[in-house]
Symmetry: C2
Subunit: 115 residues, 2 copies
C-alpha cells in the first residue's frame, strides 16, 4: 500500500535557492518529493536588471507576482507586471520576465509535473 502523504507547511525562504541564470534565483517549494501528484510550485527572485531566459517549451506557466516591478515579454510585445499580477503563459509560447525596477522581482510560477 502506498504510504500516506501528509500535509507540508513551510516558509518559502526555508527552501534552498539555486541560481538558474545570473541574477535569477529559484526555490522549488512544492514538488513530487512532497507527494504532489500533478504540478509543482516554484518561487523565483529576479535581481534588478536581470531577466529569465527568453524561451518557449511545451508546458504552461501559471504565475503570480508577489513583489517588485517589471515586464513580461511575449510574442505580442511586453506587458507591465507588479504585485498582484497574474500571468498565464500557454504551452509553446515564447516568454521572459524582465526586472526593470530597482528592487527584486519576486513571483510564484507553477508548472505541470513530468514537463
Amino acid at each position: 500500500m502506498r504510504q500516506r502523504v501528509a500535509m507540508k507547511v513551510s516558509n518559502y525562504v526555508d527552501t534552498q535557492s539555486t541560481e538558474e541564470v545570473p541574477g535569477v534565483f529559484k526555490r522549488e517549494v512544492i514538488t513530487d518529493k512532497d507527494g504532489a501528484p500533478n504540478f509543482c510550485m516554484r518561487v523565483f527572485e529576479v535581481e534588478p536588471g536581470s531577466s529569465t531566459p527568453n524561451h518557449s517549451h511545451q508546458w504552461e506557466h501559471e504565475v503570480f507576482i508577489l513583489s517588485g516591478e517589471g515586464v513580461v515579454v511575449g510574442e505580442q510585445g511586453e506587458t507591465p507586471i507588479g504585485a498582484g499580477s497574474v500571468v498565464f503563459i500557454a504551452p509553446n509560447e515564447q516568454h521572459c520576465f524582465v526586472n526593470s525596477s530597482g528592487k527584486v522581482l519576486r513571483f510564484i510560477c507553477l508548472i505541470p509535473l513530468h514537463s
Copy 2:
C-alpha cells in the same frame, strides 16, 4: 486545428469574486477558459474570524499565503501560517484555513483541472 492560446496578463483584483461560504471570497484567476490545460489558480480572502470549510476531497491543494495570519488545520492538528507560508495538502486529507487575526487572510490555492 485547435485555436492558438495567447498569454493572459491581469491583476487578481480585476477578477470578480464570489462568496463561497460566509466570510470566504474566491477569485478564479486562471482557468481552462484561459486555455490552462492541467491546473487552475484561485485567490481566496478569508475575513477575520472566518474559516474555509473543514473538508477533504480527492484532489490536492498547493497554497501560498500572500498576507494576513491564521492557522491551517489538518489531521495532525493546527499549524500557524502567514505571509510567505507554503502549504501542500495531499489528496483526501482533511483541512481548513482559519483566519485567527484581525486582518484579511489572503492566499493563492491551486487545484488540478477536472477535479
